[in-house]
Symmetry: C2
Subunit: 157 residues, 2 copies
């Protein structure tokens, strides 16, 4: 009933609270970093709750597929719409109707507001990957709301 939207409401409130005092450009960067950090720790914690067998993934690509299916369904009640890779450590995960962007009007007019609704989720992906033994850099971009692309770059060690 209401449980599926609890996370989304809480996320909205977190963003609103962090931007409540209109902190200016420097403060906004700090707020994005705070959100990303919270997402990272929640992603780590979620990763630690995963069944043991999921921690035995052999291939990077299997881990990414797992994020696109199981993790996304657990958090957003839907799967990611597509996953592409260059087979050199870069993955693009595309969600055609990203739930945290849906409350905003579609189109271009609110594009500049989008980053604050993406930072937490970038952290969430990075945190879950970290628990699964993969260091990564995760960024997000929006060309037209509510379509969203998350880019995961895994540096070769």
């Amino acid at each position: 009933m209401v449980d599926t939207v609890l996370f989304e409401f809480l996320h909205t409130e977190m963003v609103a609270e962090l931007w409540a005092h209109d902190p200016g450009p420097g403060g906004q960067k700090m707020s994005l970093s705070v959100l990303e950090g919270m997402g990272f720790r929640v992603g780590q914690a979620l990763g630690e709750r995963l069944p043991r067998e999921m921690l035995a993934f052999r291939e990077e690509l299997d881990v990414l597929k797992f994020l696109c299916k199981d993790l996304w369904v657990a958090v957003f009640q839907k799967q990611m719409d597509s996953l592409r890779t260059n087979h050199q450590g870069t993955y693009v995960l595309q969600d055609n109707s990203f739930p945290l962007l849906l409350p905003m009007a579609s189109g271009l007019q609110y594009l500049e507001e989008a980053p604050k609704f993406l930072a937490f989720t970038c952290g969430l992906l990075r945190g879950a990957l970290c628990t699964l033994g993969i260091e990564s850099v995760v960024t997000a971009s929006v060309a037209a709301l509510p379509v969203c692309k998350f880019q995961v770059v895994i540096p070769k060690s």
Copy 2:
């Protein structure tokens, strides 16, 4: 799998973030107020998602029973353990193992840390009641972790 704990992880992170900078007594009061306000707005939003028939409760007591059963299950995957009233507008809702207090050790030694884990939920109850047309004052008290009592006072108009 992981969805039932997402809210709890996110709540933990919110509390940690608000207390990260050790703001002193005045700042702590402000942080409690911020958490209570976030809970209030999430409670309001949850209330607005309830089926229409639930908005037609005739009796105050029915509304409180609804919070103890349906709302609590939706948010915490368990029912409240008891509900008592003096039939004059004061209700005591007791949860014998309040999920947001469970990560803390049982007993007395961390009692002073408890209020920051209760403020959001006090707001949540107040917000849901507000959407259901009832103004209230909600406070929480802990005598021994993880048992928690929420007191709802509804002023007679």
